[in-house]
């Protein structure tokens, strides 16, 4: 966090300087040409080109003095305030920006580094991140772990000044084109689960790490699984204390869930703001018009419902973010956004599917956009699972925010190696 008493550039002057720099240096976004990311499935070539583009955009920002608005100057950032980031979010609208490295590179990875890294570790990585040279991923979930990230079984064993890692991580987005990862590993099986974890920085492309891509049911291969076999990590790449990884992990989890309210990342004022919300209803109106259904009251009612829900979701998230930012609500409230999406998001997905009619199940080339609604419906639950399931969010909200009694766990006070793991894991 920047020192609030430091002498910082005032917002108006910052805005003016930024506006003129953007006009001269950043490519404008073609509104009729959705970003490759938003377009859906990409070929590998398209994806690599898009990643390279993101690195280049980030490098331009760095060279222009606009990368890492709220990151400290000593690590290559601008040392400015959240208000400056907000100005940036407003001014970047209409320009391209490095969307795909906001999460998880800047948040949670870089923010975890800022909070827990040593000076040397920060110097080694934060500037590289701000220049677009390092893209980071999270080695967090495991195939056997489900929602229980603290139940990590990937094991790190000390060997002199090094650690030897073995295990498997899963659900990393684009590990095949990324550079580094934060990795949560078990360093002690003889203590309860939260007390035997340690966090490491891991270079992804190195001997002993096999990155395998996972195909989702819609054909997307954005996610990867990694198999770690005798991977050697120097102790200097350890983050935080040995066996104290859950202290790091708790913060990590919070950062992971608070992207919608983060000021370490860029979210063009278009996302989640009124204009974008109008776009939801507006696009459904245009689709219905193209389908010749705009006169149908059933269609009109569904469009209105969808629009209302999307506006409410945006406004709800804005309130939740503001309540946390102003300290009126605890950090644990971040899970409320996920919970809200658990109801409203599902309904929105259903309406989007319903409005596409039968063409969402079988479609000609002309109706590709309606077919996409069908494919999107098949993956309806992805948004309720990724980044922590909605069930876990409901647990957190009820227990941590509302103070209701915790669920009984059978893994809290026993050595991790004795925790029941179920029939197939034995």
């Amino acid at each position: 966090m920047p020192d609030p008493t430091a002498d910082v550039e005032d917002l108006d002057s910052f805005r003016a300087r930024l506006r003129s720099w953007l006009a001269d240096n950043m490519p404008r976004r073609d509104p009729d040409q959705p970003s490759p990311l938003a377009r859906g499935l990409l070929t590998d070539e398209e994806e690599l080109a898009d990643v390279a583009r993101a690195r280049d955009l980030q490098r331009r920002l760095f060279e222009g003095g606009f990368a890492g608005i709220c990151f400290p100057r000593e690590y290559g950032g601008q040392g400015l305030t959240p208000a400056h980031q907000q100005v940036f979010n407003e001014e970047i609208v209409g320009y391209e920006y490095p969307a795909r490295i906001q999460v998880p590179t800047f948040q949670p990875c870089a923010t975890v580094l800022l909070d827990f890294g040593t000076h040397e570790q920060k110097l080694a990585h934060i500037p590289a991140i701000l220049k677009g040279e390092e893209i980071w991923m999270q080695f967090l979930s495991e195939p056997t772990g489900g929602s229980d990230v603290a139940g990590a079984q990937t094991t790190a064993i000390r060997d002199g000044d090094e650690w030897v890692l073995n295990g498997s991580k899963i659900w990393t987005t684009g590990a095949w084109w990324s550079d580094w990862a934060l990795c949560l590993a078990r360093t002690n099986w003889n203590v309860p689960k939260h007390r035997g974890l340690t966090v490491f920085m891991v270079k992804i492309h190195q001997p002993g790490i096999e990155v395998q891509r996972i195909e989702m049911l819609n054909g997307s291969k954005e996610f990867c699984q990694e198999f770690l076999t005798d991977v050697r990590i120097p102790d200097s790449d350890r983050i935080g204390e040995v066996d104290d990884g859950w202290t790091v992990g708790t913060r990590w989890m919070f950062y992971e869930k608070s992207f919608p309210i983060s000021f370490f990342t860029t979210r063009p004022a278009g996302s989640g703001d009124p204009m974008a919300q109008s776009a939801v209803g507006g696009s459904l109106v245009r689709q219905a018009a193209a389908m010749g259904r705009l006169g149908d009251p059933v269609t009109r009612e569904l469009i209105g419902e969808a629009h209302a829900l999307s506006v409410v979701q945006g406004e709800g998230n804005r309130r939740i973010g503001r309540a946390i930012a102003t300290g009126k609500m605890s950090d644990q409230g971040a899970g409320l956004s996920k919970v809200l999406g658990g109801t409203l998001g599902i309904r929105l997905a259903n309406i989007n599917f319903d409005l596409a009619g039968a063409s969402a199940a079988a479609w000609s080339d002309d109706d590709a956009s309606l077919g996409a609604r069908g494919v999107a419906f098949l993956t309806r639950q992805a948004g309720q699972i990724g980044g922590g399931t909605v069930e876990m969010a409901r647990n957190v909200v009820s227990e941590r925010l509302l103070g209701m009694p915790r669920e009984r766990t059978l893994d809290r006070d026993v050595p991790f190696r004795d925790v029941p793991r179920g029939p197939s894991s034995r």
Binding site: S278, V285, G304, A308, V312, K328, R394, N395, L401
Partner: protein
């Protein structure tokens, strides 16, 4: 008792010190005079509120927030609509009686477009809580769809002759003055201030779900008022009506969120207090998850009610949209939330002696009047179409 205080029980996240005191005063007043037992005792009261109570509310500022200072009104924060929503939220939290909605809508209309005479003779009484005014807008079938006005105002010899029916009219049998939205012969709209005592005006009480809010049908049989009864420039009446609708909705939404907030708080307390099979209900995961959902719906409800109030305050281009968004959302999730609170109480929750139904009634009322959920969804699509046209 809940281990943590329910959070977010303020309508808006940030209040000025004046607003905080204003809210506190209203809350204290309502705590004293509108206990659930008081409300239950009024179930058969034909008026549903006491004139003294209403005068005291007016003294607290309930009726002056949308009236300009020149007209004897005044805001707390300089943003009268936002202040109004704060009171409405408290009224909802207490399921409080009184013609708050119709009186304020008429007061706002008179302050904005009333004649000097109306401002001099009628408005002061409204602001003082001496005069009850209400808005005659919606009509019975087949003209009951949102915004449909068929009551005819015929101009004749410098007077207007009114023929038609209006229902439901809130506090219709208690009101001294009616602001009547009528159709002119040329198809436009005109608004007229009609004293309840006008010849040809009759009032028939209706039934309603709320314990204290009363509704009536008001019939106009060649009821004649002078041209000086017109409120606002008829050329702008459609816009005035839209503005009045938005103000009514701001009040409705805030009331609904207040009632939801109270229901949720009561339920959280119950879940910690009540044990089943040796465990507090609050420890059952399925109930916990529903509470998480309710908390999320409630926060989103606060957010949209607040946003709507701000947009209407600013007369922003999105005010109509936000009003309909709020109605579409709270009209559905409001009743769902309170119903789920009732479910978690079991049998006791559906008894007359329990408090929850007081809030349920208020929320359900808000889901129906000034446009149903279905009507506001369809209105949104119409607004979007218009917006889409503007884009092009």
């Amino acid at each position: 008792m809940s281990a943590l205080e329910p959070e977010g029980s303020l309508m808006e996240l940030e209040l000025t010190p004046d607003q905080e005191m204003f809210v506190e005063t209203t809350d204290k007043f309502l705590n004293d005079c509108c206990t659930p037992a008081d409300l239950r005792a009024m179930r058969d009261d034909p008026d549903g509120f006491d004139r003294d109570y209403w005068r005291q509310g007016a003294e607290l500022g309930w009726t002056s927030l949308l009236v300009s200072e020149e007209d004897g009104g005044g805001t707390v924060s300089g943003r009268g609509v936002a202040d109004l929503a704060l009171v409405a939220f408290e009224l909802g939290r207490h399921a409080a009686p009184g013609p708050f909605l119709p009186t304020n809508v008429v007061a706002a209309a008179l302050s904005a477009g009333g004649t000097d005479e109306q401002k001099a003779t009628v408005l002061p009484g409204i602001v003082a809580g001496e005069v009850v005014a209400t808005w005659c807008w919606s009509e019975p079938r087949p003209h009951d769809r949102l915004g449909d006005v068929s009551l005819i105002a015929t101009e004749r010899n410098g007077s207007y002759v009114l023929d038609g029916r209006k229902q439901p009219v809130e506090a219709g049998a208690q009101a001294d003055q009616f602001l009547v939205t009528a159709r002119t012969e040329d198809g436009g709209l005109v608004q007229l201030l009609v004293p309840a005592s006008t010849a040809g005006v009759t009032v028939a009480p209706m039934h309603g779900l709320d314990l204290t809010r009363r509704f009536a049908e008001v019939r106009f049989d060649s009821a004649t008022v002078p041209a000086s009864a017109v409120v606002g420039d008829p050329a702008g009446s459609a816009d005035d009506v839209e503005r009045q609708l938005q103000l009514a909705i701001v009040i409705q939404l805030a009331e609904m969120v207040g009632a939801m907030d109270r229901s949720f708080a009561i339920t959280m307390e119950w879940l910690f207090d009540r044990y089943s099979f040796g465990r507090p209900l609050a420890s059952y995961q399925e109930l916990k998850h529903r509470c998480a959902d309710m908390k999320a719906w409630l926060e989103a409800g606060h957010a949209i009610a607040d946003t709507c109030a701000q947009h209407v305050q600013d007369a922003s281009p999105r005010a109509a949209e936000m009003a309909s968004v709020g109605k579409a959302y709270l009209g559905q999730y409001g009743p769902e939330l309170v119903h789920d609170c009732i479910q978690m109480h079991g049998g006791i929750g559906v008894t007359f002696d329990h408090d929850l139904h007081l809030y349920l009634r208020r929320v359900v009322l808000g889901s129906r009047l000034y446009g149903t959920v279905s009507e506001h969804r369809q209105r949104l699509t119409a607004l979007l179409e218009r917006g889409a046209t503007d884009d092009a």
